[in-house]
Symmetry: C2
Subunit: 277 residues, 2 copies
Amino acid sequence: MILINGVETDHIAVNDRGFQYGDGLFETIEIVDGKPVFLEQHLLRLSTDCCKLNIPKPYIKQLTDEIHHICKDSKQAVVKIIITRGVGGRGYRQPEAIQPTRVVSLHPFPEYPKSHSEQGINARFCNTRLGLNPALAGVKHLNRLEQIMARAEWDDPTIQEGIISDINDHVIEGTMTNIFYVKDSIIYTATLTLSGVSGVMRGIIKALIAEHKLTLIEHDYHKDVLLAADEVFVCNAIIGIWPIRQIENVSFTVGNVTSQLQTWLVHSKEQVCVDAT
Amino acid sequence: MILINGVETDHIAVNDRGFQYGDGLFETIEIVDGKPVFLEQHLLRLSTDCCKLNIPKPYIKQLTDEIHHICKDSKQAVVKIIITRGVGGRGYRQPEAIQPTRVVSLHPFPEYPKSHSEQGINARFCNTRLGLNPALAGVKHLNRLEQIMARAEWDDPTIQEGIISDINDHVIEGTMTNIFYVKDSIIYTATLTLSGVSGVMRGIIKALIAEHKLTLIEHDYHKDVLLAADEVFVCNAIIGIWPIRQIENVSFTVGNVTSQLQTWLVHSKEQVCVDAT
């Protein structure tokens, strides 16, 4: 099911600025037992990103109602939200009265084997480099050609994620995930001030790290630092946390910090599901 | 009129990757007396950009037929072409069999006063900075949030264009134009290796400069260099060449080189219109 501005349809106006220019943003939310997981965090990020792009924020009650309506019968699914600057004329100049387009769509939950969470995944380094763009860094906007080019680099089904560096060769993220590593019990991740998407799950993991008084350092680092780590994991709102067991020829164990974060994350999810009931 | 894959409609599938990710590219072509101007150059750039994004090239005969069909009764108009990677599932991974979406749409020609070409325009420097992205630099793709943010900076109708620099403070282009300047009879423009759109009109002007044995230097330069120029002009496929008469508080004259290029451009347009008859 797809709701566009509250109406069930699967078509959009061709002069929508989302189609013409990628002029909008999106959210991808896990659905468990008919309920959106970490909805509050997703809506907060959506609102923040609307502010950054100067797109009027959607009316949250209406959007929340649509999300609940669309997912209420799903045991496990994904809801995607797209907000664009709405329809407009030819040219970059935005319409004087912006009427954003709001798309809420339901998708099947991807069938990932349990081993991805438990034994970890294989990853590779992408050749595609992320550009440097402080104005858009962190925002989950619709200008996603970089991720598409990076994801198009491999077909091998035994490789679950590609790790992308920026043009300065700093490791930034996976094609669909954020990436953390652990060295001597300290957790590290990229800063995302010049590129990358600041994922909702990344924020939740940062909060768990702070709550449990572990140490997190956000910094710029190269791939040799990643390859020398004790543990590496990737995360997003759909997969949760996947340990990485191998990057090209270098192996990692699923370590204590990663496992502990996975356990805390399960508790957090249970808590928000209870809260939402 | 809008043709989508040859069918007259104004709606697109919401799961088109153009809408989901800005996964595509576009062309904007001037129509004079029912004929597309510099069509060959536009189709060449479209094909080149398709290659760069690994999107299958449209069948040129079919696309050309659609362009001619849509514009045949227009005295002066704009045709916009959008090519996307077509419909696909959720996620950045491209479909195994890509069936591109092809949009050909007719638009009114913008009503610019003749004085823009003759006496020149006023411009300003934008605060928005272009990111650095060598993989996508030059391509007229659908990821255009930077241009939208730059164009949203001003409302003053007496200012016709905003000049954008990159994060290294190198002057790159206008929000909808490429920019050239003249100093001591030598013509200069930005390199576009790290950002910017390599416009069809920019290519035509480069060819005119070469044909008439003037000197062109493509280099990185800062705004103080631009402000010290003898002549400055912007260009695109719709406006042709507009001299800049003022950037903020600095005035320029409409110089000989700019006027000469305008004259040569008029001759080139007449020639391609005759050739296309």
